[in-house]
Subunit: 231 residues, 2 copies
DNA sequence: GGCGGGGAAACATCCGAGGTCTGCGTGAAG
DNA sequence: CTTCACGCAGACCTCGGATGTTTCCCCGCC
């Protein structure tokens, strides 16, 4: 095994074992390198890798620190990974969302406070009559994020957030701006909101299911026709 | 932004844009470095980082290649991330499993073939009467993995697989080997299997829910008493 | 046709030098 | 006494080159 991978494992081990706690500062490059028995160059590769997944945080002129290791932080890194997936797997991701979002929505219907709900309403009201694509995507994303947040489970929230990555979503909306899809989406968002505001978990779950399934169905049709047209 | 991060983005861009397809080979370090306008050292840091999340695959003496980018490969990297989470977030992860596993089990009940089901049965039979902790964990993990695989959705499968990381699971089992928990778990596995074999999605879903919720409840109690005892 | 040797290519590792940024103590000005 | 600018030390950033290791593949031999 390359020394760099070994270094990654060792640093991981130091964190998992508790030797390095969240927020702790690592020894300086030179010291840690000699302690792990490798060169600074190789150590830097290991640190950079752990940096990409948000486990370490290097600050130039200061030092290298262990991040808070909060679920949100670590799962956010997954967004980066999801970006790499090609169109033919989008449906699989959407199917997972179809499982997670209704559950999160039901939980949110039970847990969201009145002020949370008021903010959700403001979000819906804040959308123009004929919004730009960017505004639409941002609003849609924020709406679902607020609900996921309302589930009270940070892992669930981050996961949903990552799965509906900006790239995927933007790509979908780009073709969805036509027709009456915008109006229908708005209606469904409103229905989801109403169910949450009424604290009706099962109703909220159903509307969320309908909503995601609608997107899924539309996407399936679009991809299908694109396939037959393209090849 | 550091040149290394820039390089990561550029390489990512080359892949997402299609300039580099899965399986393609990257230019050699020296060439790519000069093309991206940085030194080999810095480029190597970028490559190493993308390597950790399984986007690139470097083979000494050969070259650097783009991986298949399959969901399984990329989401497997998440296992690495999940390992970093501390005990106090395990419940949140388990709550997500409680959402995903029943759904996957229901899907599996509809989709698994007779030969798949036969293999699942063999797995259950293969467990000794008084298994070691290692055997128990391996068997349990494999049982749930097969079911997740049977859902037909690779993303869902990998996600479930990652969430029930070996570390977490092992830690749970370590305290669960006593008492009648082993027998109860075996019973529930059997019930899940029966429901799948009978192709009864809703029954399978319910048993899976019961199963995961049981673990969740037990863990909540254990963590609770540990907290009150420890502090 | 099969097999083994040898060379070329590419990555792995290390080292050392200069550059840049940050945090913080110091000291003067208000 | 408080505030702010200055400057130093520490730590990371980037670079270029040199050497070791592994793999691939062509070529000659059996």
């Amino acid at each position: 095994m390359p020394v760099t991978d070994e270094a990654i494992d060792k640093i991981k081990g130091m964190i998992v074992s508790g030797e390095l706690a969240p927020g702790d500062r690592l020894p300086k490059e030179a010291d840690l390198a000699s302690r792990l028995g490798l060169s600074r160059s190789s150590l830097r590769e290991a640190v950079k890798a752990l940096c990409l997944i948000r486990v370490l945080d290097v600050r130039q002129g200061d030092g290298t620190y262990v991040t808070s290791l909060e679920p949100k932080l670590l799962l956010d890194a997954m967004t980066f990974v999801v970006d790499f997936h090609r169109d033919d797997t989008v449906l699989d991701f959407l199917a997972v969302r179809r499982i997670l979002e209704p559950a999160a929505t039901a939980m949110a219907a039970q847990l969201m406070t009145e002020s949370d709900i008021a903010e959700l309403a403001a979000l819906l009201e804040g959308l123009e009559e004929s919004p730009t694509v960017e505004a639409l995507v941002a609003n849609d994303l924020e709406f679902h994020r607020r609900i996921a947040l309302g589930s009270g489970n940070p892992v669930l929230c981050s996961l949903i957030d990552s799965l509906s990555g900006p790239t995927t979503r933007a790509r979908i909306w780009r073709g969805l701006t036509q027709e009456d899809a915008v109006a229908k989406t708005r209606e469904q968002h409103r229905a989801i909101y109403d169910a949450i505001a009424a604290h009706e978990p099962e109703l909220a779950r159903s509307w969320a299911t309908v909503h995601v399934a609608g997107v899924e169905q539309w996407l399936r049709k679009t991809l299908g026709s694109a396939d037959s047209a393209g090849e």
